[in-house]
């Protein structure tokens, strides 16, 4: 284990932290903490990007790190906190699956994701060894979170965390996406959150609650 360079070790640690934060989100009921965890995940992602930029000398990665900090650590969490205050949704209700069950499923997902990433890891010489597996895990875990939560707010955070996973995967597999794509995705995410923010107000005005099970009543009667 002595021969692993420091940058590599740091990257591995960042990857593990991303996964850790994903699990922390999975086990968290408070929406406010969820947003904070999301911000932390963004910060770790930015740190990983910076590390990779420093190691490979690819300049556009610096830009992308700056973008990550601006958008995912500062702006979006601020926006979400504001939304929470305005909408007064501090707690999620009981998730569909209890926390331990959620985590157990999460564990199985991680094993599955790593088995899935095994062949890709062998192909991609640039990938840090476990990073792709972790990226896939983060995406799937975020998906799981979106499935098991009732409140729209938590689902948005899940959606954003999923984007983090995709971003990390792209970064570790091929040193990031082309700049245009990255900017596009960033814009997409931003617009998506704004649209959803508007959407929340609409939902609440209609149902007096953000609990998504009200949407079930919207289907046509047979």
């Amino acid at each position: 284990m002595t021969h692993i360079p420091l940058a590599q070790q740091l990257l591995d640690t960042c990857a593990a932290l991303l996964l850790l934060l994903s699990f922390a989100m999975l086990s968290q009921r408070r929406v406010v903490t969820l947003v904070n965890l999301y911000a932390a995940q963004g910060a770790v992602l930015a740190a990983a990007t910076l590390l990779l930029a420093w190691r490979t000398g690819e300049d556009h990665l610096y830009v992308s790190a700056a973008l990550t900090i601006a958008l995912k650590v500062l702006f979006l969490p601020w926006l979400l906190h504001r939304l929470i205050r305005r909408l007064e949704v501090y707690w999620d209700t009981e998730p569909l699956l209890n926390v331990s069950g959620n985590m157990l499923v999460g564990l199985v997902i991680v094993v599955f994701a790593f088995s899935l990433a095994q062949p890709i890891t062998l192909l991609a010489s640039t990938a840090t060894r476990g990073a792709i597996g972790i990226a896939v895990s983060v995406v799937l875990l975020a998906f799981l979170m979106m499935i098991t939560r009732r409140k729209a707010m938590s689902q948005v955070v899940g959606f954003l965390s999923m984007e983090n996973g995709v971003f990390f995967g792209a970064m570790s597999a091929s040193y990031g996406m082309p700049m245009v794509v990255e900017l596009g995705v960033a814009l997409d995410v931003l617009v998506a959150v704004l649209v959803m923010g508007v959407f929340f107000f609409q939902i609440r005005e209609r149902f007096d609650s953000l609990d998504l099970h009200h949407l079930e009543t919207l289907k046509e009667h047979e």
């Binding site: 564990l107 094993v111 790593f114 088995s115 095994q118």
Partner: protein, 671 residues
């Protein structure tokens, strides 16, 4: 034929025959408790001790003896063999049965259903047939002994045959045992590999294709798994073990389950030769599931013997997980680690035999003294039955896996071998292993929960019924039996190196590697190849005892305050009664709550305004509804369909025979 008889094997066979004779002697005066109960059982116990000595000598010498007895059908003599593996299990049989038989000598009384003399015959036949299973060196002898074992234990289970539930439990046991035996029959059929020779020697020489070998392995797993109580074939066990009288429960849990382990090791690691690594996954995964399943159900039981039966299921899961791990390692070319895993497995067999026998006998004494099996009606027995309580405490601590007792040693060894799993050359298994390890430690911790519940509710607290005030301690013979088993637990816990040394011959025989003796000290166990890991229970005990005694001494010396007895404080709430203690249901409530999906719960809660509130809860296994009941219905339908050919007219039956004859003749003509 043979000019000189092999001494140890002949001795063992003679002792087994003597057991049968002792059993038959019971028929001389079948109604006498004094003769059949006291004298003959004690005699049987001495024979057991002799068997343990002979088997122990054979194990230490590490040699193999063979004998061919011209019994039975012409040209089908009985082949016998005493090698390290069978010596180990024979030792286990002899040593545990000594304690159990002595206890049984003081236990059986008039009015247990079956007459004492008949019981004596069944009991000793059971013992002798288990010995026969262990010594048999051909499939015929093995299966005959296996069936005698099943039948004699069936009669023992149904000792109180006037109770319908016990008859039902016995029937279920017989049914499952026969499903298992059928699988074993087929397994041996595959193992002979076209040579049609059914000696084990021929089976070792037979070369099976990997596919057939896997089939044989799977059949053996089902057959022996059904006997060992592996989930999902365990359903008979929680009914049958509690139904039997306590010494028989002890014998079934403590010894009979081990014959299944013996069979699995014999077929999987000896007769099949080199196992492939992925075969091991089946017993490993099933074993892990069984651990978890068994312990969770044990935690919610309210009948003390059922609780112990589920705990036996858990322990067999641990053993089978160990077997699986052994095969995975052995098939992956890591014989030293395989030896370590096998060592843990064998060690746990020995441990469980002593601990579980001790606990079952303890419940037997409680049952005799109080007539109660329901935990909810016991309590405070430590004051009335100090011998039973303190000796059972040793078994309780041992089975909870606490150092420096024996349960800890085998768990320690198993965990050490699990820690090697990261080095396996199979990526997927490497992912599975941490989860397996997590299940093992979770099972061990839950076993602690179960045992606190078991001991705390039976022996501690206030008596929950007034009748418990008349409970009496056990008699002298019972005490000796309990003491023997408790001492066994202590010895196995405190001298692990000596035990490991003795087991070396078995690991050498089965996986071709003895466990390295890295330790230079006789009191230190350091069996892990290439790692500086060690465990010294004697030092551990000495250090703890020294610290504790020093504390007592210092506290007594400096602070000479007297002790006053007063009513319980209980936060100043004076009106506490025995009914305010936790019940067995209450103590299991967190587990019931947490693992709800496992149980099928039927609950009656009292209304707030009820004058006579009644709380009732019944917990069943989901597996009945999910698997066994549909299966039973399907069998019933099949039987009904088959019943259609039953016409009741002679001419129709003759027609059946006639058609069969014609078809057979036609087949003969064509081929």
């Amino acid at each position: 034929m043979i000019t000189t008889l092999p001494p140890l094997l002949t001795g063992c066979v003679a002792l087994l025959c003597a057991w049968v004779l002792v059993g038959l002697a019971g028929l001389l005066r079948p109604g006498s408790v004094r003769f059949a109960g006291r004298t003959l059982f004690t005699l049987g116990a001495v024979l057991g001790l002799g068997l343990a000595v002979l088997a122990g000598a054979s194990l230490l010498s590490g040699g193999t003896e063979r004998l061919i007895l011209p019994l039975g059908l012409p040209n089908l003599p009985v082949h016998l063999r005493l090698d390290p593996l069978s010596s180990l299990f024979l030792f286990l049989l002899g040593a545990s049965s000594f304690g159990i038989s002595v206890f049984a000598g003081g236990y059986f009384r008039q009015g247990e259903g079956t007459l004492p003399g008949l019981l004596c015959l069944q009991y000793h036949l059971f013992l002798a047939s288990m010995g026969g299973v262990l010594l048999a060196n051909d499939a015929y002898g093995f299966l005959v002994a296996w069936e005698v074992m099943t039948l004699s234990s069936y009669f023992l289970v149904t000792t109180q045959h006037r109770i319908p539930e016990i008859r039902r439990a016995g029937f279920l046991y017989l049914l499952m045992a026969h499903v298992g035996a059928l699988c074993l029959l087929l397994c041996f059929g595959v193992l002979q590999g076209g040579s049609w020779l059914f000696t084990f020697h021929a089976m070792r020489a037979a070369h099976l294709s990997p596919g057939w070998a896997a089939v044989a392995f799977l059949l053996a797993l089902i057959g022996f798994g059904a006997k060992a109580g592996l989930v999902p074939l365990h359903v008979w066990l929680p009914d049958a073990h509690p139904a039997a009288p306590s010494p028989v429960s002890a014998l079934m849990s403590g010894v009979m389950l081990k014959t299944a382990v013996y069979g699995m090791l014999r077929v999987g690691l000896d007769l099949l030769g080199r196992p492939l690594w992925w075969w091991g996954l089946a017993p490993l995964i099933l074993g892990l599931l069984t651990i978890f399943y068994g312990v969770v159900f044990a935690a919610v039981q309210t009948d003390m013997k059922r609780l112990l039966a589920y705990s036996s299921i858990e322990n067999m899961g641990l053993v089978f997980a160990g077997i699986g791990l052994t095969i995975v390692f052995a098939g992956s070319g890591m014989p030293a680690v395989a030896a370590l895993a096998l060592l843990a497995t064998l060690y746990h067999c020995l441990n469980h035999s002593f601990m579980k026998s001790l606990l079952f006998l303890g419940t037997g004494s409680v049952l005799h003294a109080t007539g109660e099996r329901n935990l909810g009606r016991l309590g405070g027995l430590i004051h009335r039955m100090p011998w039973v309580a303190w000796l059972t405490l040793i078994g309780t601590l041992a089975i909870a896996g606490l150092p420096p007792l024996n349960g800890f040693v085998s768990e320690w060894l198993l965990l050490q071998s699990f820690l090697f799993a990261g080095q396996l050359p199979h990526a997927f298994v490497n992912l599975l292993i941490p989860m397996g390890m997590a299940l093992v430690v979770l099972g061990a911790a839950l076993a602690g929960y179960v045992m606190v519940k078991f001991y705390g509710i039976i022996f501690l607290g206030q008596p929950r019924e007034t009748s418990l005030a008349h409970a009496h301690d056990c008699g002298r013979l019972e005490r000796i039996g309990l003491l023997w088993l408790a001492l066994g637990c202590l010895a196995l816990g405190l001298f692990p190196l000596q035990v490991v040394h003795a087991l070396g011959a078995v690991t050498g025989q089965l996986v071709g590697a003895a466990v390295p003796q890295a330790s230079a000290h006789w009191w230190l166990l350091a069996p892990v190849p290439g790692r500086s890991v060690s465990y010294g229970p004697l030092v551990f005990l000495t250090a703890t005892a020294a610290v504790v005694l020093l504390t007592v001494f210092v506290v007594r010396l400096i602070y000479r305050q007297r002790v006053r007895r007063g009513p319980a404080w209980d936060c100043g709430f004076g009106a506490a009664t025995a009914r305010m203690q936790d019940t067995a249901e209450g103590f299991g409530q967190p587990i019931r709550h947490l693992f709800q999906p496992f149980f099928e719960i039927e609950r009656e809660l009292p209304e707030p305004a009820d004058r006579t509130p009644r709380y009732r809860i019944a917990i069943r296994e989901r597996i009945w509804r999910l698997a066994y009941e549909p299966l039973a219905r399907a069998v019933g339908r099949l039987a009904n369909a088959a019943a259609r050919i039953q016409q009741g007219r002679i001419s129709v039956y003759l027609l059946y025979s006639f058609v069969t004859l014609l078809v057979l003749l036609a087949v003969a003509l064509i081929s």
